[in-house]
């Protein structure tokens, strides 16, 4: 186990490269989810805002 973690003395390089990769992968998943959530919120908000106005116009006419 110790030998595995030491990586022939290259442990700092091997683990930092793999660790960074893991971080970017996790980051990509989370940013994609956030992107979708924000887009959803924005797409819904844009629809709901003008509705009262449109309803008001309908009532007047």
């Amino acid at each position: 186990m110790r030998e595995f973690l030491l990586m022939d003395g290259y442990w700092a390089y091997v683990w930092s490269a793999w660790g960074l990769t893991l971080a970017v992968f996790v980051g990509l998943v989370f940013s994609a989810r956030r992107h979708h959530r924000q887009a959803f919120r924005q797409a819904v908000a844009e629809e709901q805002a003008p509705r009262p106005l449109r309803a008001a116009v309908k009532e007047l006419s």
Partner: protein
Amino acid sequence: MWIWFHKLGSPPHFYRTAGRLVPWFGIPALLLLIAGAVGGLAIAPPDYQQGDGFRIIYVHVPSAYIAMFGYVAMAVAAAVGLIWRMKLAFAFAAACAPVGAAFTFLALATGSIWGKPMWGVWWDWDGRMTSVLVLFFLYVGVMALRSAFDDASKGDRAAALLAIVGVVNIPIIKFSVDWWNTLHQPATIAKFSTPSITMDMLVWLLAMVVGYTLFFAAVVTMRLRGEVLLRERGARWIRELAAHA
């Protein structure tokens, strides 16, 4: 066939289908990446020159490949969008850019980390690394141009044109950088020659490459759904979707 195509082209249908596709990409990607990681880190034999230091290859090479693949995918989508005026293709190109840029960054960073023990420096003006750096700049340009426009459809088309110009230029840039590199022989001499890969090392690398590709597809599909929503703001089906949620 055509009915199917049209159905897929309709945003609500596409949005739903894409949502269902994500786990089909994501789960095999996860399995392959875990297999590749275990194989690459623990099972594959150490390189006879670099020892365990060569295990960075399993994260570096697939990143560099996705960096290129992502740009080409983006440029093809951009061309489709410009030629057939397809909103969906623009949405795909927009979804590709940040993911591809992230992998380009990763290729540079892991290459740099690998370079330190192998060449003795963090950065070497080596032809391949330099052209990946320029590829990163091209990604940044496409993303910056798209976000500079208030009008999303204009931004889409301008960024698409730039992506196509970039893809035409990549071979020229690559050639010039390689040419430049052969003239200025690097001062640092690599401590090791390029590792010759044996079969029991290659299997895990292939698993990683396929895993990366599927992961890329999964993340791009997730972002694509967001891009579709942004381009369909105010459509009735989104309101209905929100009402059901």
